[in-house]
Symmetry: none
Subunit: 225 residues, 2 copies
Amino acid sequence: MYKILVVDDEANIREVLKEYAEFEGHQVDEAGDGMQAIELAKKNDYDVIIMDVMMPRLDGYSACKEIRKFKQTPVLMLSARGEEYDKLFGFELGIDDYVVKPFSPKEVMARINVIVKRNSTAQVFAVTPEIERFEGLEINFTSRDVIIDGEKATLTPKEYDLLFYLVHNKNIALTRNKLLEEVWGYDFFGDDRTIDTHIKMLRNNLGPYRKFIVTLRGLGYKFEA
Amino acid sequence: MYKILVVDDEANIREVLKEYAEFEGHQVDEAGDGMQAIELAKKNDYDVIIMDVMMPRLDGYSACKEIRKFKQTPVLMLSARGEEYDKLFGFELGIDDYVVKPFSPKEVMARINVIVKRNSTAQVFAVTPEIERFEGLEINFTSRDVIIDGEKATLTPKEYDLLFYLVHNKNIALTRNKLLEEVWGYDFFGDDRTIDTHIKMLRNNLGPYRKFIVTLRGLGYKFEA
DNA sequence: TTCCACAGTGAGGAAATGATGAACATTGCG
DNA sequence: CGCAATGTTCATCATTTCCTCACTGTGGAA
């Protein structure tokens, strides 16, 4: 039996997870936002915290960071696909795993078992490279900065997400569908052309390094370095 | 291509889903109630089952439970709004996701993709590029590059597709019909000569390695290495 | 050698595709 | 509420790519 803290602003989701967890014999507390989560994490010792990224008052990342200041409770993040893609790799926050919505509670429970077991023994994390450089183009996944010839570029969130996804998959041909699914999310039912527009803006913002973004006619795009 | 079982007592709904799924290249079986669904699920291996909750003879929940006794096929539930809301969360039944009526087929398909992928393989992070080499001809299926004696070749989409298909089936005799069907698509009703033209252009682009594309008189072509 | 069915080739018009700018919608914030 | 920033859709345009077709080349059977 684990003691679990479920943090999400949607009562539905909390409810689903709670039911399933209790069905498996665990004990569950709930919190509706990051602040409450911190309160509870301070008072009680949980075996694991399941936390949504998007929440009012205080988001999941910040809450996680805060909690880490006083406890090492393992955290499983829930996130919508395409949601600040890069931060999901922010293991420096101490996130132990994450699940992309829509998830099956079954999957969440399976992962929790892995996390808790792992936590009781030694922690081994796979290190993801935090900075990538291509000539005068520097991309910092951790700080979410893009630096062009020494100058920090200002990209919109979608532009960041798109660029980060392209770079994470550099030298891989990516179809429009793949991009939509991974960057926009499985639940985006919009126009293909949206990608083109964002590619356009991204290219404009990359100045001389627009050359890295290659159009694959009849297919999609590729970051070629 | 997925093998899908659609279970609903309304023929309309089955039809809509079937059409859409087949349009996307999947193969669909139908069942009108829970009993039939169990029969079919026993006989065949589906990648996913789409099942309505409310059905005569045997409802969706019960059918799902029954199927789970012998197979782990992922299940997507369809339910009317407000229909035994709580039971939808009976994930102990092994329901992987659900969609509330009225739904868009597009959405259902999107979710199916998520479910099947989630269920099949664990996520791969580092992709090892898939490369084939024949003397000075290098074909990278991942980056979609063709390199001839160290120089990158520029092929049109159809040329890539054709080459990739030939190489994937190297040393296999391919009839014109087979090529049309696989590279152009089953719904292409054009001239045979079209292939010849593309083979011609492909050969021109392959320089010295045009020799790998062998004409089989009276039959078709072959990539011989 | 002749024949002819089948393959190779070049060119022009049709169709598909991506880039782009602007309109429109949505979101977040003071 | 209204504004500014961001994201999405849409129409247009230039370009690439595709397909058809008429013609030429060719291998092998009789």
